[in-house]
């Protein structure tokens, strides 16, 4: 017989370490239904029964103020796990207990894993585990998950709790005080008339949540026809309570809950005062890291180092992978040729399948390395400091301080940076960052810029390239502003972020995290990229017998059809349209396409390009290349991160439109000014 156990806890409490220690490698990563918040499940076994452990998002409360909290609250209510393990930070017990108490109120049987006992001891904090357990009425198990201490005890406790009858719901009732209690009792009586209001939720808790203004309960009460009655009770009795307290009911309820938590903490925790006055190491680091003079320069240095190192270590690995794929493709084609396979099949395997798979795996090194750094920064506690010092600047654009890292990474490659937006918790911040990231000019666009600028702008080639980077940033900033005040209007961005104490990250966690992300990309985005590459191959190869990507191929014909559209932008010839089409495959391919189409390969381009472009139309073409639809891998990663085809189509349409308009404005504007 299988049990389901939920794992909950605040961020930075070592919840992931507990999860890993309990389940080992027996894990499965997916998404919560309908949303792109990661859902991890694992299994462990002891005493002959299987336990499915569901890792809830790290939250501070169940108040449904964020998507993560909503998911956690919803899971406890709807899926009704047999038990929940709450990971509490022993060195910061009070805050951890708030979540535990909220969970107790939902009636879920709990076991508290009192983690980071070592950090607590260092701070001079002693916790009376038995007293804590008695005060809350739940088992408490001390652990140090990073050293796997207490994990066996935790497992045994979970099993004995499960064994004592999984139907046993907690009957915990938080004392809300003499002022609030009469009001809550009246609401409870009202709710008891319609017990189906929220199945599984104790009446008392439903009453509390109603007073707190929980939208879910309010909607349920509406549906059950109780809302008016309850509103009247709140308006009548509640108003008097508010008056006597001096603040509103929502505040009153949350204040009482914290009051209870503080009381429990005061009784169970004792501090060694001799250690209390000493300035902690974290504090001393923060004096430097967040200081007025050094805070920002240090952050830029760290961000720059992450950027440089990711590509410095990743690029050679990518090159190795690329040549391996090429060799593999040639071998396969050779073998198939020798075996008498038709040309079309050989080409399909070499250019379509192996080439397509190759264009997926080449992203792995950068994603792996970037996520190793992100895990390092998050785990050490520095990421929060970076967001703290950068938030003012990023907020000018309507973004979050943490948006800076993915945006910077975008200059290397948009794919890992799209995945890097996971560090943002709010959907609004994440969506806006995702939508503007493709305007960060990635390194694949550089060869196109360099080629054209070298041919057309001579001495000023460097300035031309630089101006394109700046243009990308400007378009990103303007877009962020537009999205913030239109699509995401009213959804304010919030900071309210903990600055956790610094701690030394564990190498195992960092590598595991990096591997998970890289693997996820291969698995989830890979299929999409592979299919798109095969599609491009087919368009360039058919009707069979024409030269690959030539004027007579499908893509050439499409290019001819589209060419008139580009007349206002100054490049209304089919070669440009075909090059842009192949650019969707990977932007640097624009160069190779021109090389093939104009003959003479890439070396002959310098002579051939001026036959098609003027300097003005060349610049317009570069603006298009910079801004129009990002490559297929970015689109695939975007689709994977948003989980929405609608948003993916929006991204494709928006960027292409912006690119086209940019090119037209440059060309027409330039002509008006008499350039070109």
């Amino acid at each position: 017989m299988g049990f389901t156990v939920a794992l909950a806890g605040n961020p930075n409490t070592g919840k992931t370490s507990i999860f890993n220690a309990l389940t080992g490698s027996n894990q499965h990563v997916g998404n919560w239904p309908g949303v792109t918040v990661e859902r991890k499940e694992g299994y462990f076994r002891a005493s002959g029964s299987d336990v499915k452990l569901v890792d809830l998002p790290g939250t501070y409360s169940l108040g449904a103020a964020s998507l993560d909290e909503e998911i956690a609250a919803d899971f406890l209510l709807r899926s009704r796990p047999d038990l929940a393990v709450v990971v509490a930070d022993a060195s910061n017990l009070e805050r951890s207990l708030y979540l535990a108490v909220q969970m107790l109120e939902t009636g879920t049987p709990l076991v508290i894993a009192l983690n980071m006992m070592d950090a607590a001891a260092e701070k001079g904090i002693t916790i009376d585990v038995e007293k804590l357990s008695a005060l809350l009425g739940v088992p408490v198990v001390p652990t140090v998950a990073r050293r796997k201490e207490g994990i066996g005890d935790l497992k045994n406790t979970v099993f004995s709790e499960l064994g004592s009858g999984s139907a046993r719901r907690s009957s915990f009732a938080l004392p809300y005080g003499e002022r609030l209690s009469p009001l809550l009792e009246e609401l409870e009586a009202c709710i008891a008339e319609k017990p189906e209001l929220v199945p599984g939720l104790p009446f008392r808790t439903a009453a509390v949540k109603f007073v707190e203004g929980d939208p879910g309960i309010r909607a349920a009460a509406e549906k059950a026809g109780l809302a008016r009655n309850m509103e009247e009770i709140v308006a009548g009795k509640g108003a008097r309570v508010e008056e006597s307290l001096g603040y509103d009911l929502q505040t009153a309820v949350i204040e009482r809950r914290w009051g209870f938590v503080s009381g429990v903490t005061a009784e169970a925790v004792s501090r060694d005062l001799s250690l209390k006055t000493r300035l902690s190491l974290s504090d001393r680091i923060d004096r430097v890291v967040t200081s007025r003079t050094l805070g920002l320069p240090l952050f830029f240095l760290v961000a720059w180092a992450v950027f440089r190192l990711t590509y410095m270590i990743g690029d050679p690995l990518v090159e190795i992978l690329e040549s391996l794929v090429e060799i593999l493709g040639e071998r396969a084609a050779g073998i198939m040729g020798a075996a008498g396979a038709s040309d079309i099949l050989a080409s399909f395997v070499q250019d379509g399948v192996i080439g397509g798979a190759g264009s997926v795996v080449v992203f792995f090194p950068h994603i792996f390395i970037l996520f190793a750094f992100i895990a390092l920064l998050e785990d050490s506690g520095y990421m929060a400091r970076g967001a703290f010092v950068m938030d003012r600047l990023m907020h000018l654009m309507g973004l979050h301080g943490k948006s800076f890292i993915p945006m910077l990474m975008g200059f290397g490659c948009n794919v890992p940076s799209i995945m890097g937006t996971r560090i943002l918790e709010s959907r609004r911040d994440r969506m806006i960052t995702l939508l503007i990231l493709p305007f960060m000019s990635c390194s694949a666009r550089l060869p196109v810029f360099v080629l054209f600028s070298g041919v057309f702008f001579g001495d000023r080639a460097g300035t031309a390239v630089f101006s394109l980077y700046v243009l990308g940033i400007v378009v990103a900033v303007i877009s962020a502003k537009i999205f913030g005040s239109t699509l995401f209007r009213g959804k304010s961005s919030q900071l309210v972020m903990e600055l956790p104490p610094y701690h030394i990250p564990s190498a195992g966690m960092v590598l595991r995290h990096a591997w998970e992300r890289g693997w996820q990309f291969l698995r989830k985005a890979g299929t999409f990229i592979l299919l798109a590459v095969i599609g491009v191959w087919a368009l360039a190869s058919f009707p069979w017998g024409v030269e690959y990507g030539s004027r007579e191929s499908l893509v050439g014909r499409i290019g001819e059809m589209l060419a008139p559209l580009f007349v206002p932008a100054g490049f209304g010839f089919w070669q440009a349209a075909v090059a842009l089409f192949f650019g969707f495959f990977a932007k640097e391919v624009v160069v190779g396409t021109f090389g093939a189409l104009l003959g003479g390969g890439e070396a002959g381009l310098a002579a051939a390009l001026p036959g098609l472009f003027t300097p003005l139309s060349a610049y317009a073409f570069l603006v298009m290349t910079l801004l129009y639809v990002p490559c297929v891998a970015v689109v695939a990663a975007f689709r994977r991160e948003t989980g929405s085809w609608k948003w993916t189509l929006f991204l494709v349409a928006y960027t292409t439109l912006v690119g086209y308009m940019g090119a037209v404005i440059v060309y027409q504007g330039g002509r008006l000014l008499g350039i070109g």
Partner: protein, 97 residues
């Protein structure tokens, strides 16, 4: 209560955002409504909570506040919603009005 309300009248409430680094205070109430207010409350900034402004970011925004044994950063416009009792009024029921 007379003495306490007297002390309340002597000082003035101010927003958390108006405190300088190192200055402490006690939360009187959280203004506004919606998810920001709820989040601030659930992070533990409820009436009666003692806090201290720990540091400010290089551009003076956000601010970082120490309370209940941990450090929380808030943007200045978020800290505007946190109303602090004047010093010496920790015992006023319902804060100062």
């Amino acid at each position: 209560m007379g003495v306490l309300s007297g002390c309340c009248e002597s000082g003035k409430e101010k927003a958390l955002s108006a405190l300088s680094v190192g200055e402490g205070g006690v939360v009187a109430r959280i203004e506004g409504d919606g998810s920001l207010k709820r989040r601030i409350l659930e992070m533990g900034l409820v009436p009666g909570t003692q806090l201290r402004v720990e540091r400010k970011a290089p551009l003076n925004d956000p601010v970082s506040v120490w309370f209940r044994g941990y450090e929380l950063s808030l943007r200045v416009d978020e800290a505007d919603a946190v109303i602090i009792r004047p010093a010496g009024c920790a015992g006023c029921p319902g804060g100062c009005r």
